[in-house]
């Protein structure tokens, strides 16, 4: 008599029921006040999807850079608020969380082409920056560790470049604006500062401009023609024998032997 091994029961996700991985330990998290048991290894975003939520807004790159999934959370028994991106933050037991996919921060209307390097333009478009009381709630809320208060301070002082550099990592998630006592739309202001800096303050890359002109003038066309007409053997030979500036060579000192293409 043969005994067939009992086949393991295969569970299939049906949309209203999530599959718990074998051996996964679950922890309770509270999404908008309601308790869900979710695998402890998941990010907030995955945990919410595990629980049955479907993201129509509030999810984007899932990689920590688009700013679509800002989340506020608190741990049971503690008053302290924490802030993070749902796609990057791993769940913890008894986390109480809610999301702010969008915050209605003021966004001034302007034409970047009609502006100049002056900070006064930023003051005129966003006078609310002068309501800053240096409470630092914005910096504390930032999931990218941008020193938000510092760049607002810099803009009050008219230091556009400083503000542009401090705000560089901003992903426009809006958590700062959601916490601001002065109702400042920090990330919109910073974006304007970066645009003005990039367009009117930062030095132009002149060598890029001249290289583009050279290309458009057809300087490199004969060389490209030669390459396209070469057979594979010749291409390989040329590639292997190509001259290359040595690593760590002193700037401006090395020149190739073949100078006709320079």
């Amino acid at each position: 008599m043969c005994e067939t091994a009992k086949q393991p029961e295969i569970k299939v996700a049906t949309g209203d029921r999530a599959i718990l991985p074998e051996g996964a330990k679950t922890i309770p998290v509270y999404v908008m006040g309601k308790k869900y048991e979710v695998p402890e290894t998941l990010t907030i975003m995955k945990a919410m999807e595990f629980a049955g939520f479907k993201f129509l807004r509030g999810a984007g790159c899932r990689g920590g850079i688009c700013g679509a999934c800002p989340t506020v959370y608190r741990m049971a028994g503690d008053y302290k608020l924490h802030f993070g991106l749902a796609c990057q933050t791993v769940v913890q037991p008894n986390m109480y969380l809610a999301q702010i996919p969008f915050f209605p921060a003021n966004r001034a209307s302007y034409n970047i082409e009609e502006m100049n390097a002056a900070a006064e333009a930023i003051h005129a478009l966003y006078p609310e920056i002068f309501r800053c009381v240096a409470c630092n709630l914005c910096t504390k809320a930032c999931p990218m560790e941008v020193k938000v208060m510092d760049y607002i301070a810099a803009l009050k002082q008219g230091q556009v470049e400083k503000a542009a550099r401090i705000s560089f990592d901003c992903i426009q998630c809006g958590l700062c604006a959601s916490r601001c006592m002065g109702e400042i739309p920090q990330y919109h202001v910073a974006q304007l500062a970066r645009r003005i800096f990039g367009k009117y303050i930062q030095p132009r890359f002149e060598h890029l401009v001249s290289r583009v002109k050279e290309i458009e003038s057809g300087k490199y066309d004969p060389m490209l023609d030669d390459l396209t007409k070469m057979d594979q053997e010749e291409l390989k030979k040329r590639y292997v024998e190509r001259e290359r500036e040595p690593d760590l060579s002193t700037l401006g000192e090395w020149k190739p032997k073949e100078t006709q293409y320079l």
Partner: protein, 294 residues
């Protein structure tokens, strides 16, 4: 002894001349102060509402920065910043309950217990250089220039933060005399210039400022020396309108005391940015043959 320098927002924009002249003077005199790499607006006006602690957070945070950087003293140029920071400092030193609340709120910073002393630039000059030494370093004395120190409201009030007792103007007087100017006292040296009332007043209608200028003109003052961008605006920038409206009999150009100091020390006048002052300020310098102006 480490001294941190707090510029304040206005000195980076509208009152660049006040700052650049001061820093150039310090360099001439061999004094080293370091601008704090992180600072925020002090709020400009010390909040008078007892329980309104959030408006003390701004200035206190700057005191925290100074403490973080190991500074014993924090020096300021702008009178409003001096007043705000000094009074916030007093609060942190004397009111232990509010100090505790503020420190607890700023849970992202180290606790501040009033360890740093807030001083005004004039006090710095007296303590770190001394009037005699300044006199020795003067290259182009402001001979023949009749200047009056104008303290306005915020350098001496309230008494516990005043740079010197009310009615005394010795700090700026000593400085002006050390740089060769003739100091002419006048009645309105500590009368208000109108401060932020100017926001609610039509241009050229600022009575307080007009009174100060008239008082100075009557006393024979040729130039006013101030330490405050708001005073400089109220007194210096409205004079043409005042003359037009018959509110003053004669104009009295306004300078920052640091511009006068810098000139006397032989600093390149371009650094003083006299073009940011009232046009009559430049004319006065030229008329008095005091260093080729702008």
């Amino acid at each position: 002894m480490k001294i941190s320098y707090y510029p304040g927002c206005t000195l980076k924009l509208k009152a660049k001349n006040l700052e650049l002249a001061a820093l150039a003077s310090l360099q001439e005199m061999g004094i080293d102060v370091e601008e704090m790499d992180r600072w925020n607006c002090c709020g400009a006006v010390y909040s008078l509402t007892d329980d309104d602690l959030i408006h003390h957070v701004g200035p206190v945070r700057n005191l925290v920065r100074a403490k973080e950087r190991g500074a014993d003293k924090l020096v300021t140029l702008c009178s409003m910043c001096y007043n705000t920071l000094a009074r916030a400092n007093q609060l942190m030193k004397t009111d232990t309950v509010k100090r505790d609340t503020i420190n607890r709120f700023m849970d992202d910073e180290i606790d501040y217990l009033g360890e740093v002393e807030v001083i005004h630039f004039l006090t710095l000059l007296e303590e770190q250089v001394g009037w005699d030494k300044i006199r020795e370093m003067v290259k182009k004395p402001l001979t023949g220039l009749k200047v009056a120190p104008y303290y306005g409201c915020t350098l001496q009030r309230p008494a516990d933060v005043g740079i010197e007792p009310m009615g005394n103007f010795t700090l700026m007087t000593n400085l002006l005399e050390a740089i060769g100017a003739t100091v002419v006292p006048f009645n309105a040296a500590d009368k208000c210039c109108g401060s932020y009332q100017v926001l609610n007043t039509a241009a050229g209608d600022n009575e307080a400022a007009a009174n100060v200028i008239n008082s100075a003109a009557t006393a024979g003052v040729e130039a006013l020396a101030t330490s405050c961008p708001l005073c400089e605006y109220n007194l210096g920038k409205q004079q043409d309108l005042f003359l037009e409206k018959g509110k003053i009999t004669a104009g009295v150009p306004t300078f920052y005391f640091t511009q006068l100091l810098a000139m006397a020390l032989g600093v390149n006048p371009e650094v003083c940015h006299f073009e940011m002052n009232d046009a009559k300020a430049v004319q006065l310098l030229e008329a008095k043959n005091l260093q080729a102006a702008v």
